[in-house]
Amino acid sequence: MSTFIVIPALNEEKYLGQVLDNLKERGYNNIVVVDDGSTDKTYEVAKSKNVTALKHIINRGQGAALQTGMTYALLNNAEYIIHFDSDGQHNPDEIEKLLAPIKNENFEACLGSRFLSKQKMPLKRKIVLKGGIFLIWVMYHIKLTDVHNGFRAFSREGAKKTIMTTDKMEHASEILEKIKKNKVRYKEIPVNIIYEERHLKEGRKGQGRFDAIQILLKMIFKKMGT
């Protein structure tokens, strides 16, 4: 059974190598790095580690990069697909924990949750995330404990039912919308996200306040049927 790890990466030459080494050490060989138009050597780093490296010739956003990796994985007969972070925020030891309900309990998607694991996190981030949870509940009537966690697992069927059309950070909401709309069998699994100082610099990954407002507006427009 082939498990594909999809890693969207933008200017991650510093940390990507270590992330890939950690995954390979644990026996994951189907790793797909999608370089989303980086201006540094992200693509070269991925290539040097002998993993599949796809290059977006211009930046299209994290959602677009994830979907490129998902499309590639599906084309290459992936049975399971994992969304994984490129800068070491996700723990590779938790991948099997995410996959277990899909493999053993017939779930189609497993979503990592920081709140189920009672993880400590900065207050500001906690408030924003709780706001996101409320918003997703209001807009899509799907009640979760964590809504913008990038650590996810899908079965092949689950991946086909959650094909993303949004390019940027709003893909996280779109996945949940598709899960609800296409009746994807999902489960939340407690995971721990590693917060080092470099991860906490706001806006580093395009999640600043203005991006949040933009995402909200796009969600509303999408809901209006544009």
């Binding site: 999608v34 599949t52 490296a53 796809l54 290059k55 977006h56 010739i57 211009i58 299209r60 677009a64 979907q67 490129t68 499309t71 590639y72 084309l75 059309t165 390019d167 427009f221 544009t226």
Partner: protein
Amino acid sequence: MDFIQIIILIFALFAFSRVILNIKNRLESMFWMVFWLGVMAAAIYPTFVIKLAEILGVSSGIYLSIYATLIVLSYMIFRLYAKLEDTEKKITKIIRTVAIKNESKTSKNNR
């Protein structure tokens, strides 16, 4: 006829001719034809706008024109937004196809 009426009439005629010369979407073209014909009618018979304003309960013809313009502009922004989103999606599709094709080319060459 006042000078401003002539200017509006010429501009509306020009816009009307552009719509006819660039018919792509019938429904949309019809909308714009009716719109520009309305502008021409308003330029030739300003009393028509005043009458219409009275019927619609707007205090003056000028206000009616401003309201109509705002509605049309808002609609245009909405359409532009939708079109832009559509174009963005197409660009992503191209970028994705190129990325996947290039990878399969590279792996074939490495075999």
